[in-house]
């Protein structure tokens, strides 16, 4: 079976003009993600695990390499080169990203934060909220919080809101950055069940997990990253 995502020789460096520095973030990353399977990224802090996910999501512009995404029609897009509009389309319909931190409107109720990706697709508010409520219940977020903006939630509650928001749109490719980092064991269990369920539904996942036992339990492939060699070279010129 052809992979949903194939990353070849991906590297990312940050060029910081103010400091006159070139900071390597990840280097020569190769990986594949299959439909209905989970690829786990492992490695020490600073190995560039999160950067790989952000490059695929195009929050970071990759410095070199290819990121080949195969869509429903078997059409392959190199995410590194795709137009901004194409990336926005794919984020809308195909590629989901659950980060460690919840970025959302400060004044929106949790239920609406979760329902938003469906609303943005033009689905009715009633149905979208119903789906959002199901997911929040499944993830054990207390019902009394659903009408409250998540700004005041605990880290674990925020994380579950974030996860529900990432799952509600049923992406084909899901990028997960430590989805269980601040959860207690019981809630972690629920998240693990949910990940297994969506895997069985055929979603391709690329994930970073804090706990090695989750990698053992959930990963179909493991890709280990090593921190890139620190470039000490200063930029010759700092043209603005």
């Amino acid at each position: 079976m052809q992979p949903v995502l194939k990353v070849e020789a991906l590297s990312k460096q940050f060029q910081l003009y103010e400091q006159g520095k070139l900071i390597p973030s990840c280097a020569d990353v190769h990986l594949e993600v299959q439909a209905g399977a989970l690829t786990a990224l492992i490695g020490p802090t600073g190995a560039g695990k999160s950067s790989v996910l952000k490059c695929i999501h195009r929050t970071y512009l990759p410095t070199s390499g290819r990121m080949l995404y195969r869509d429903r029609d078997n059409h392959v897009t190199d995410l590194a080169l795709a137009s901004e509009h194409r990336i926005l389309e794919l984020r809308h319909s195909d590629i989901g990203f659950v980060t460690q931190f919840l970025h959302c409107l400060p004044r929106k109720a949790a239920l609406d934060v979760v329902a938003e990706p469906l609303l943005a697709r033009g689905e009715g508010a009633g149905g979208a909220r119903e789906r959002a409520a199901e997911l929040l219940a499944l993830l054990n977020v207390p019902e009394r919080l659903w009408g409250v903006p998540p700004a005041t939630f605990s880290g674990g509650e925020k994380q579950r809101v974030n996860l529900a928001r990432g799952l509600i749109a049923r992406p084909r490719l899901l990028l997960l950055d430590e989805p269980t980092a601040s959860l207690d064991p019981a809630t972690t269990g629920r998240v693990v069940d949910l990940i297994e369920r969506i895997k069985a539904e055929g979603v391709a996942m690329l994930a970073i997990f804090h706990q090695p036992e989750l990698v053992n339990r959930l990963a179909d492939r493991v890709v280990e990253l090593t921190p890139p060699v620190a470039a000490t070279e200063l930029l010759e010129t700092c043209t603005s």
Partner: protein, 276 residues
């Protein structure tokens, strides 16, 4: 999504201009004033696309040319050179090849503008409802009761108290004036809206509610918007894609999250670093 706007190589010089204006201004020269003739190059070589229903942010400091850009698109100013195509359903308009009457028709029917300064967008000699009626009249609606009802609904949608619709906007707070401007701009249900620093200078809580309103409207009506601001928070909240301008030139463009998290240009890196 369909293409809505194609801006190609738009330039605007304030003043008489000279052949050396473009070479002697811009980010590399660190000025937008031509050293040879004293003209101001407000914009030069600006090109971008906008899709239907999309929100594009234009970010930059004062004097970057971002306001000039939207004012030119709204026909408030005439460009020195450049071409803009506007795609509207089956029709295609070459904006700067149109005569004055056609431009006025587009302004009244297909575009909407919300200015930073409410004096530019509102007529303070007539009531809030009258301001909306003015725009509806220009778009060929003429039944009094119908106009009044539409004005009332629009003001209610933008959260202006209906009992104040017969007062002059002169007496309104800054936030309320912006709401009336938004209602007026939306009166003809234009597919394209220009927002020029609409929340600048307002109290934070008022800013937040106006931004919420703009997002709600975008979601309900699918209106495409060009949002001009120097405020990174506004860009982050509203825009899917962003253009960064300095001294009249586009120095960087990209997905908004990428511009904010991985800015490529030294100037954008400084802007983003100074906001955090």
């Amino acid at each position: 999504m369909n293409q809505m706007l194609e801006v190609r190589n738009l330039s605007k010089i304030h003043g008489r201009g000279c052949p050396r204006c473009f070479d002697s201004t811009g980010p590399d020269m660190d000025t937008n004033i031509c050293a040879h003739c004293g003209s101001v190059v407000a914009a030069h070589g600006v090109s971008f696309d906008l899709r239907a229903g999309e929100i594009l942010g234009i970010m930059g400091e004062s004097g970057s040319g971002k306001s000039t850009l939207v004012k030119t698109l709204f026909f408030d100013e005439t460009p020195t050179v450049g071409e803009v195509l506007f795609f509207d359903g089956e029709r295609q308009w070459d904006l700067f090849a149109l005569n004055a009457a056609e431009q006025r028709w587009l302004r009244n029917h297909r575009f909407g503008m919300v200015y930073q300064n409410p004096h530019l967008g509102l007529n303070f000699k007539v009531s809030a409802g009258g301001n909306i009626a003015e725009r509806l009249l220009m778009s060929d609606l003429s039944h009094y009761g119908e106009i009044r009802e539409r004005a009332r609904r629009l003001l209610a949608r933008t959260e202006v108290l209906p009992e104040r619709m017969d007062e002059s906007p002169k007496k309104f707070s800054g936030g309320m004036q912006q709401r009336v401007q938004i209602a007026k701009a939306l009166a003809t249900q234009p597919p394209l809206l220009f927002l020029d620093e609409v929340t600048t200078g307002l109290d934070l809580s008022v800013q937040a509610r106006i931004l919420d309103l703009i997002l709600e409207i975008q979601q309900e009506l699918g209106t495409a918007m060009i949002v001009v601001t120097h405020d990174l928070g506004v860009i982050r909240l509203l825009a899917g894609r962003t253009i960064v301008m300095k001294y009249g030139r586009v120095i960087e463009s990209g997905l908004t999250d990428q511009i904010l998290e991985d800015p490529q240009h030294a100037y954008t890196q400084r802007l983003v670093a100074s906001s955090l």
